[in-house]
């Protein structure tokens, strides 16, 4: 065991994992988190907490994870390198570990030009791969980047992201391999709508034997409407939403598009489960947490295991 987190235990035991996602509020109101957590509790094994996603200022990921821990859920702290230099990053990891957080997802983060502070200065002292290396060095060597010994080593279960749909496609698996080499224990992918392309990517992953070195959790997001699907296709960087998916939503009877979206999602999960090397699902029900129990139920993934 590297960290002993619940997520690590489930994956280690070979069971199919589900992680959820919780976007913190744009303010200090903890009830928002508590409400979202109600829908996730018992339905997912760990909950990712985003770190000022799309560069919009929100409650910190660490604090939100701590609140989730208090409620009996396991958090996965997302950390982007956009806003902190290596000093702040390592300091936050110490703090997070002390608060009981055991999973971290290492990201570079969306550019600040997308958010509500486009005039801010970015940091990017490290990139995501270097962040993985840093967390691993802290855990395995017990040293900070600068080389000093750590007193009270943070043993994190290290996650990284992968986007099979970004370009250049043939390099995506190489970059995954770099993340694995840097020390990633698990991977969460970008939302998958183009399953054929994802399958091709997984084939390349297996060719390199990466599926045996890292746990891959396939990302899924239920679509609420045609509008949302089109937005994801056109506006969200690195997203691949095939026209068939949009047509299917469009073809749904009036008022039933959301239902169709759930069906698409459940079918995707079932298909993803069949792919060799997929160890779990990362279910991102963006501002639609109440549907998580339904999706998990329909996908036949209940009840969730409770490792000791």
């Amino acid at each position: 065991m590297k960290s002993g987190s619940k997520l690590e235990k489930i994956l280690e035991s070979g069971q199919f994992a589900i992680t959820g996602e919780c976007g913190p509020p744009q303010g200090a109101d903890r009830s928002v988190i508590e409400r979202k957590a109600q829908h996730l509790k018992g339905n997912v094994d760990a909950v990712n907490v985003t770190d000022n996603q799309t560069s919009i200022v929100r409650m910190s990921s660490i604090a939100t994870c701590a609140i989730l821990q208090q409620m009996g859920l396991e958090g996965t702290m997302q950390m982007v390198t956009r806003d902190r230099n290596r000093i702040a990053i390592q300091s936050d990891i110490f703090g997070a570990y002390a608060l009981g957080i055991r999973n971290i997802l290492c990201l570079s983060g969306d550019h600040q030009s997308f958010g509500n502070h486009p005039t801010s200065k970015n940091v990017f002292d490290l990139d995501s791969i270097q962040l993985i290396q840093t967390v691993k060095q802290m855990r395995d060597d017990g040293k900070v980047l600068g080389g000093d010994e750590i007193k009270g080593v943070p043993k994190m279960f290290i996650g990284a992201a992968a986007n099979p749909f970004a370009d250049p496609f043939e390099f995506r698996v190489v970059r995954l391999a770099k993340k694995v080499a840097a020390g990633a224990d698990f991977i969460q992918t970008q939302c998958i709508y183009n399953l054929e392309k994802f399958e091709r990517w997984m084939e390349m992953v297996r060719d390199r034997g990466l599926h045996e070195k890292v746990y891959i959790l396939a990302g899924v997001t239920p679509l609420k409407s045609v509008g949302m699907a089109k937005y994801m296709k056109e506006k969200v960087a690195g997203m691949d939403v095939p026209d068939e998916v949009i047509d299917r939503l469009r073809g749904a009877p009036k008022g039933k598009a959301a239902e169709e979206g759930i069906s698409i999602c459940v079918e995707a999960i079932q298909r993803l489960r069949q792919i060799k090397g997929v160890h779990g699902i990362h279910l991102m029900a963006i501002e639609w947490e109440e549907m998580v129990p339904v999706i998990v139920q329909k996908a036949g993934l209940l009840p969730r295991p409770t490792p000791q």
Partner: protein, 222 residues
């Protein structure tokens, strides 16, 4: 070269407000090449300032002078007489030029007419783009001669990130993804193996993050 861009006339007028005699000082090096602060731009902005002043009924006297390089004190000395006659100097040089004039003529206010933007190249007549971030620790040999620090929006050293699509950056569709360029270039060089290695955490102390930089060549000192 250093690429600069003229500030708006409004901003410049606010800066010179209150001064009766203003010397517009051009620089004959980088900013001449990028049409921001050469002799013609100096004459143009001087004329525009006079017109604006006349229109507003202000009395301001504008003089002009362009020197070879504003970052060398010997050239700046050529301005001495005109500077003495002026109440303020509006420099059309880069930030280095503005400061060298200010350091040379202690008692005279020196105002920047340009925004100094980047170290870049002429892509084609009328188009300049950033190429170097002056990080002080060049790694272009690892990245096919394309700088990820200056040209990747996130300056990441192990790219491309998940926002690279069709060769473009996620922040703007007209911005090339530097890492796609690096990938293509290394592919054509047969050096894709370079991308299998992780570029380690960068030593930023050589860059501006290490504090103001200074370079000394002992043998060249007189």
């Amino acid at each position: 070269m250093i690429v600069g861009e003229r500030k708006s006339l409004e901003e410049i007028r606010k800066m010179i407000n209150g001064y009766k005699k203003v010397l517009v000082a051009g620089c004959g090096t980088c900013v001449t090449v990028c049409f921001a602060g050469g002799e013609k731009e100096v004459a143009t902005i001087a004329s525009a300032l006079r017109l604006a002043a006349q229109k507003g009924g202000d009395a301001v006297e504008i003089s002009e002078a362009t020197i070879q390089r504003q970052c060398d004190i010997e050239f700046i000395q050529e301005l001495k007489e005109k500077v003495e006659q002026a109440d303020a100097v509006l420099s059309m040089g880069c930030g280095a030029g503005v400061q060298t004039i200010a350091e040379t003529f202690g008692g005279k206010p020196v105002l920047p007419a340009l925004n100094t933007r980047f170290i870049g190249r002429t892509e084609e007549q009328g188009i300049w783009s950033e190429r170097c971030a002056a990080c002080g620790d060049c790694i272009l040999h690892l990245t096919g001669g394309i700088c990820p620090i200056a040209r990747c929006s996130k300056s990441i050293l192990n790219g491309p990130c998940g926002g690279s699509k069709d060769g473009k950056c996620e922040i703007k569709s007209e911005v090339d993804c530097a890492w796609q360029l690096i990938y293509d270039r290394l592919k054509s060089l047969g050096q894709l193996d370079l991308l299998e290695k992780i570029i380690p955490v960068k030593d930023w102390s050589a860059s501006r993050d290490g504090g103001p930089r200074k370079q000394v060549r002992e043998d060249m000192k007189l």
